[in-house]
């Protein structure tokens, strides 16, 4: 039980929860508002993170411009995916979006001259010969750590500084998103979720509305990618496996697809599930070796997804009618 009282455990869990919360917010705009089932969301995070790493390390851009470029690249990725395949019906789009994310990962994996390939961003050819891409952010994180030190003493960590940056952003984005969902734009999209023909007969271009939702959601995926890149200080292709998209979906379903405000709590629940299997050390978990615990995490996430969809598809805070209608 020791892990429970270690602050490091909670700091890590909550930081990851915040990042995945921002990630899931993108899916929330896409599915909760527009009914678009994007299963390739992880691709946006990969595009954004790698854009930053390559621009800063290889082309010596400032981190801030690189971050802007990363988020823009993710939004552009969403636009390309949407222009190509969003006219297809839901099943096809879901498959196409998975293919998009897998192609992205495959290109990253094989373009080793640019991305470092399997070895990740540490292997990107660096004109300076050393250094990562987070130097400019680290200055700020260290400044925050200095302010936190008088309160937390030796417990102060970079994770803690990240935590105090990520969560205000999550709340800011949740607020922005909930404002967005009160607009007439969102009302049209909600109408298209249930029926294409009515909004189309009112002269609304259904495809364009959906595309906008996909692009905005992808930008949030890109923002999550920025935080991810800063949190881990290096990226590797296996960070962006298909399963990561489903982490986001799980948070979204836990919260209830249309309940943007439940997202923060759902993210914490997910973060606990994600981190708990790694840190907790009591029987029967203590019987498992460390790689076995990694499977346990995946197993639990699968189990929660299945149970949620069978027992409570509307999520913890959602309304059943809104989920069942599709």
């Amino acid at each position: 039980m020791e892990a429970f009282i270690q602050p490091g455990f909670w700091v890590f869990v909550l930081t990851m929860a915040g990042i995945y919360g921002i990630f899931a917010l993108g899916l929330q705009i896409q599915y909760g508002v527009a009914g678009v089932m994007n299963f390739g969301h992880v691709g946006m995070m990969a595009i954004s993170g790698y854009t930053i790493a390559v621009l800063v390390i290889k082309y010596e851009w400032s981190f801030w411009w690189a971050a802007l470029a990363g988020v823009s690249a993710a939004a552009l990725g969403g636009a390309l995916l949407g222009l190509a395949t969003l006219r297809l019906s839901g099943d096809y789009f879901a498959i196409a979006s998975i293919a998009f994310a897998e192609i992205t990962r495959y290109l990253i994996l094989n373009a080793d001259g640019v991305t470092g390939g399997t070895q990740g961003t540490l292997a990107i050819p660096n004109p300076k010969g050393f250094g990562g891409y987070t130097d400019q952010v680290d200055v700020i994180l260290y400044w925050i750590m200095d302010r936190l030190y008088p309160i937390f003493g030796d417990e102060t960590s970079r994770d803690m500084a990240m935590l105090s940056v990520v969560w205000p952003f999550l709340f800011l984005f949740i607020w922005i998103s909930s404002r967005l969902q009160k607009t007439s734009w969102a009302t049209v999209l909600r109408a298209t979720r249930e029926d294409d023909d009515v909004p189309a007969s009112l002269g609304k271009n259904v495809f364009r509305f959906r595309l906008q939702a996909l692009v905005i959601g992808s930008a949030f995926g890109g923002i999550a990618g920025v935080f991810w890149a800063v949190q881990f200080m290096l990226l590797a292709p296996e960070d962006f496996l298909r399963i990561v998209t489903f982490y986001g979906w799980m948070i979204l379903i836990l919260a209830g697809a249309t309940k943007v405000k439940g997202l923060a709590i759902a993210a914490i629940f997910f973060g606990f599930l994600y981190g708990a299997t790694r840190f907790l050390d009591f029987w029967p978990i203590s019987e498992l070796s460390s790689p076995e615990r990694a499977y346990l995490r995946i197993f639990l996430i699968g189990l929660v997804l299945v149970l949620l969809m069978v027992k409570r598809p509307q999520g913890l805070f959602g309304k059943r009618e809104e989920m069942v209608l599709e």
Binding site: R87, A96, P291, Y295
Partner: protein, 297 residues
């Protein structure tokens, strides 16, 4: 010329595996409107169960394959009873089916890892034995897969066109309510679909394990998108189409290495050929080779 024969042969071998896996996915879609994201892990499971019986317990290889097909059917039967039937009764939507299928895949993989370990495995067959055929090198395992794969494909095709339950399946896929009023037993059709897809998943897994020589627990999942490509190429929901789509995709992937295509696509980009096929079909002919256009918006 030798290259052409070699790639053509490899393509037919790979293609017959794709065909067998794809037909299970396509049948499930046609009957249940379910895109089975767990299909890849059923392949892995089939390969590992066969490995367990044939290598660890040392019983006859073919008997082990049959046991693993039975196990695939049993798991599918169990999931239909405890999971899918309830979801159908609750009128679960597309997203729910997607996420439950994913959840099943996420649960299955750790179980395989926990029970069978993460080590690379190989079957107790001579993977180095090759035959010479018009200058092309044909592995013994490839020949096995091609012969038994063709038999399996023919059996499936016959079953779909001749057997009562196969006809019921196609009737139900075409028009569920019409089939139901004409006396087709829906639960029986759905169960049969699951059993077939479970058996075919295991079989395809053994074949893939044979062709690869060595396999680990990521084997099936890595191939999932290639199967989807085969399914979409052959028109989603069309069983015969999936067979054709699988074989065509296998041929595309192998023949793309021929020098006349951009000097030959490097073999580590073979998955990209599958993805590209999927994307191109979705872009230009989403109804697939054998479908007609019904999409809207």
């Amino acid at each position: 010329m030798t290259d052409l024969i070699q790639y053509l042969f490899n393509g037919l071998v790979v293609g017959s595996i794709f065909a067998i896996a794809a037909v299970g996915i396509s049948l499930l879609y046609s009957v249940l409107r379910l895109v089975n994201f767990a299909a890849g892990d059923f392949l892995t499971l089939g390969a590992f169960i066969t490995y367990f019986f044939s290598v660890t317990i040392e019983i006859n290889f073919f008997l082990a394959i049959i046991i693993s097909m039975g196990a695939g059917m049993a798991i599918s039967w169990f999931l239909e009873l405890v999971l899918w039937r309830n979801l159908r009764r609750n009128k679960a939507g597309t997203l729910a089916l997607f996420l439950v299928a994913t959840g099943v895949a996420l649960m299955l993989r750790p179980i395989i890892q926990y029970v069978f370990g993460t080590e690379t495995r190989k079957f107790n067959v001579d993977i180095l034995k090759t035959y010479d055929f018009l200058g092309a090198r044909i592995a013994h395992t490839q020949l096995m897969v091609l012969i038994f794969g063709s038999l399996a494909i023919m059996t499936i095709a016959l079953f779909m066109s001749k057997a009562r339950i196969g006809k019921d399946m196609r009737a139900y896929a075409n028009n569920p309510s019409l089939a139901a009023v004409s006396g087709v037993n829906v639960d029986r059709v759905v169960m049969a679909t699951w059993l077939i897809s479970g058996a075919l998943g295991s079989l395809a897994g053994v074949f893939q394990g044979l062709v690869q020589g060595q396999f680990n627990n990521a084997m099936g999942d890595t191939l999932l998108l290639s199967f989807f490509a085969a399914v979409v190429l052959g028109t989603i929901g069309d069983a015969y189409g999936a067979l054709a789509g699988g074989i065509l995709l296998g041929l595309f992937m192998e023949l793309s290495q021929l020098a006349i295509f951009f000097g030959g696509v490097p073999s580590n980009y073979k998955p990209v050929v599958a993805f590209a096929t999927l994307v191109l079909v979705l872009l230009f002919k989403p109804e697939g080779l054998f479908g007609y256009r019904t999409r809207k918006v």
